[in-house]
Symmetry: C2
Subunit: 235 residues, 2 copies
DNA sequence: CGCATAGTATGGTCAGACCACACCTGAAAG
DNA sequence: CTTTCAGGTGTGGTCTGACCATACTATGCG
């Protein structure tokens, strides 16, 4: 019973591209050769090339679009959270992970990022300024729930970016994305949403104030309470 | 310039399967319908179905194999670290993230897991017993470097599993996987490896002892020193 | 009953075709 | 000269239909 190593054809292309990325023969902004060209180069069919392209796509390594010209085809981007989000989302659906674990992880990452000494003080100050703008935008009473959640997510990811760790930042964003549907579905009516959003606004302002006055530990504590409180409302 | 909503055909199948997973119409161990059947059900071609299957595959949701019978075709598994590992690995190659960030994240997760109150004390005790066995196996002087690294990885992931958080555990494993090639390449010769492995054995034993005697904070501190020291050797 | 054989369904791969789209070129219009 | 627009070209997206190796299943022979 010889267990086949099962060498998939698409891995030829995948490994070649990964190697080109590693050696910087390819980097962000570059265009990949066309699918037909890759197929001929590696002596495999276009269908197998497409398998590799699809993987790079869902992993957030490339962005594909039709048409011709410099901005068409497969272009290298760098969106680490795309692949992680998709993975978490699917495993959440498959019951491999649950909401408690995601919330717990989010608290871990966000409080860590809050207490971290910023790698780049200039960036940290920019974050504080930009989050202030987001807070103002979230004060708009006309804002739809979808828009609020979008800005809310940006607020949290921005704060986490202060730590200067792309892995943590991507995970944060991914954790947020993976349960966004769950959150939206668990607060169905607008009547129950209105009192919640008022509390969220207050909490955001308190968190921002703690950051602005450099009270990192307090900011972390407020973040933890904020996240825990919000998810306690989604039942 | 109307930005295309770009409705990809494979998303039809992907969303249908995700929904079936969410409602538990599909769960671990089940077989997916054949690709030809799915194509007909959703009115799309088999090629597009295969796109969705490929995504589920690389994300660690399913495992595919040829042949017929109950154990063939696409079977639901649950391997959250597969997709995350792949994503991290590719973005590491694409320079979207770097080794420092991965090591930093690993320390964050492992020290958190070490200090966490175990969700399941019985499992925690089993982990302590099993890690003891792993430590003994790593004492074998005949062990190849690859085998040592494999057991080493198992040791760390096991300890992290005590916290009872699948997200943290998967991320741990993924972080470890994503840089395993880097680690292997950065210590090329066996002469420099020998003194390193002796230190690693000592550190593992100290960490295990701290866990066994319930000195969680000390365990976390030793883990941090252990990880930092090891990566300081890989230059 | 035991076992070899043919049958069947699976995913993996390939080839070739057509489509919609975005850009590029160059001729026609101003 | 510039502007406009019509066609040409290359891209990924999709479909069809075919063949392969594999692994199980059923058949029928001994």
């Amino acid at each position: 019973m010889p267990v086949n190593p099962a060498p998939r054809a698409y891995q030829i292309v995948l490994q070649a591209i990964e190697e080109d990325l590693r050696t910087e023969k390819l980097s962000v902004g570059d265009q990949l050769p066309g699918e037909r060209a890759l197929a001929e180069q590696h002596g495999i069919s276009r269908a197998s090339v497409r398998d590799a392209i699809r993987i790079l796509d869902v992993m957030g390594i490339i962005k594909t679009s039709t048409g011709s010209g410099p901005n068409s085809g497969a272009v290298i981007v760098s969106n680490p959270s795309a692949g992680i989000s998709q993975a978490l989302r699917l495993h959440l659906a498959a019951k491999g992970i649950n909401v408690r674990e995601i919330v717990e992880s989010r608290i871990l990452l966000e409080t860590w990022a809050a207490q971290m000494n910023p790698r780049d003080p200039i960036h940290a100050q920019q974050v504080i300024d930009r989050t202030a703008v987001l807070i103002m935008r979230m004060d708009d009473a006309q804002l739809s729930r979808e828009a609020f959640h979008r800005i809310d997510a940006e607020f949290h990811v921005l704060l986490a970016s202060m730590a200067g760790n792309a892995v943590v930042e991507s995970m944060m964003e991914s954790l947020r994305n993976s349960i966004s549907d769950y959150v939206a579905a668990s607060i169905p009516d607008d009547e129950s949403w209105q009192p919640i959003v008022r509390v969220l606004r207050r909490q955001h302002k308190a968190i921002h104030h703690a950051f602005a006055t450099n009270q990192r530990e307090r900011a972390a504590q407020l973040l933890e309470e904020h996240i825990n409180w919000f998810y306690s409302q989604t039942r």
